[in-house]
Symmetry: C2
Subunit: 266 residues, 2 copies
């Protein structure tokens, strides 16, 4: 199980502004608070209008890894920004993300196969995000096979089966859950990941929805959690769910978190 903090993302207005301003204190604090809350890796994304992604992302990697000793998930689709960030990055990163889109594959495969890194594989292609679980699985198969042919190990691949908000389409989470089950069955050797907070976008009681979805996804075999680690409800549910799938021997981590007051939900 790998816990990745989602918050250093330029799509969040306050964070985007801090990146534009190269506000080192803000970014360092957000890095530290996520690691303190339990993140073992941090996602960093710097793409936004008005910014200079290659320069901003490289700055972020430098600042974050000065503040905390964890590897990063480099969140970009630009090969230039990616190469620059990877030159600076310490340790083994995960690149977020490649997909079945022809151009993205052509641009990124030379970069990701040259280095020791993990790669997130999105289940979408040039026609967008398929509506059905079967078609998402087909894309995962195709891209995973291509990366393995190019020398990558299955253990370095993280298939993202894609989460959209149930606020716009009330059946979409069920399709994602079905896709996860298919991937666990058909590609058992790769990891699975998703941006689960998307599920509650635009809805009330977000923590409740995110926490319930997290438990469901862990139960269905997802092993890599890109989440808001500073959301107490979500993190407490992750600790409970880890017990329930038998990943917390003697409930030791759960009981330790309880004694530290970390299982309160409010």
């Amino acid at each position: 199980m790998l816990i990745v903090g989602e918050s250093l993302n330029s799509a969040i207005p306050k964070v985007g502004q801090a990146i534009l301003n190269h506000d080192e204190a803000f970014v360092s604090d957000l890095a530290r608070s996520q690691v303190e809350a339990g993140a073992e890796m941090l996602d960093v994304a710097a793409g936004m209008s008005g910014g200079n992604e290659p320069g901003d992302l490289a700055w972020m990697v430098r600042v974050v890894q000065k503040a905390v000793k964890v590897p990063l998930m480099i969140d970009t689709t630009g090969p230039g920004a990616l190469e620059k960030a990877l030159e600076i990055h310490q340790g083994k990163p995960i690149i977020n993300s490649i997909s079945g889109e022809r151009k993205r594959l052509e641009n990124l495969i030379p970069v990701v196969t040259r280095l020791s890194c993990g790669v997130v594989v999105l289940c979408m292609d040039d026609e967008g995000i398929p509506k059905t679980a079967d078609k998402r699985l087909q894309i995962a198969h195709r891209v995973v096979n291509e990366l393995i042919r190019k020398g990558m190990k299955p253990d370095d691949l993280y298939v993202d089966y894609l989460i959209m908000t149930v606020g716009a389409d009330w059946q979409t989470a069920a399709i994602s859950l079905e896709t996860l089950s298919l991937i666990r069955k058909e590609l058992p050797e790769v990891h699975t990941i998703c941006g689960l907070s998307n599920v509650s976008f635009g809805l009330p009681a977000k923590s409740l929805l995110n926490a319930a979805f997290l438990s469901m996804l862990l139960g269905a075999g997802m092993d890599t959690f890109l989440i808001n680690v500073r959301d107490k409800h979500v993190m407490a549910s992750l600790r409970a769910a880890a017990v329930l799938v038998g990943k917390d021997p003697y409930c030791a981590s759960f009981l330790k978190a309880y004694r530290a007051g970390r299982l309160k939900v409010d």
Copy 2:
């Protein structure tokens, strides 16, 4: 999806005492508060030392169905108590439970096959509760097949794959989850149920564990929930999880519960 309130159970000391005293106000209030909280059916259990199960159970059925207009889950292993309760019961009950134990089968099959009722089938036999998911599935197969041969419909069967506390065995919930998946795959036409509150017995942060387990089990296909409906965290998680598995069209029930202040978790 069927929501069954678990609280009218003589194993809970306060409830047991009220049953011994034939305290009609207490039992009626507990019935009403569960239905108000969302229960569509109520489990009733009267077996305890010092009591007279056939008389107590019949009294409970009468009192509860005077207080609320829902069918009951008659929770007993005694054929005498069962027959008496069934004579009084209004509507279609579910009998909780039969199992692979030879004597229990012989005693209960004539009763349950004579009436229009549902039956809970426990995945255990004369050797106790099997440690492995495969063996629990074998028992489910055997008992379900026997009941179908005797004329019962699969839609009237509720397989209970058995939940024990992770406080005593930290791997036990994972085995139950695996059993659920096997049953959903091998016996897709029957319902699945469990006494999920058992999972947190003896542990702190019970609501958190129960809520996380409920989301996980709904995601894995369980459709009948014997739960503490008066636990706000558990009920709010059930509403969230129902959205996520695509069982709440347009999130209408979820949004209605939110507006009514029913999604607060504390």
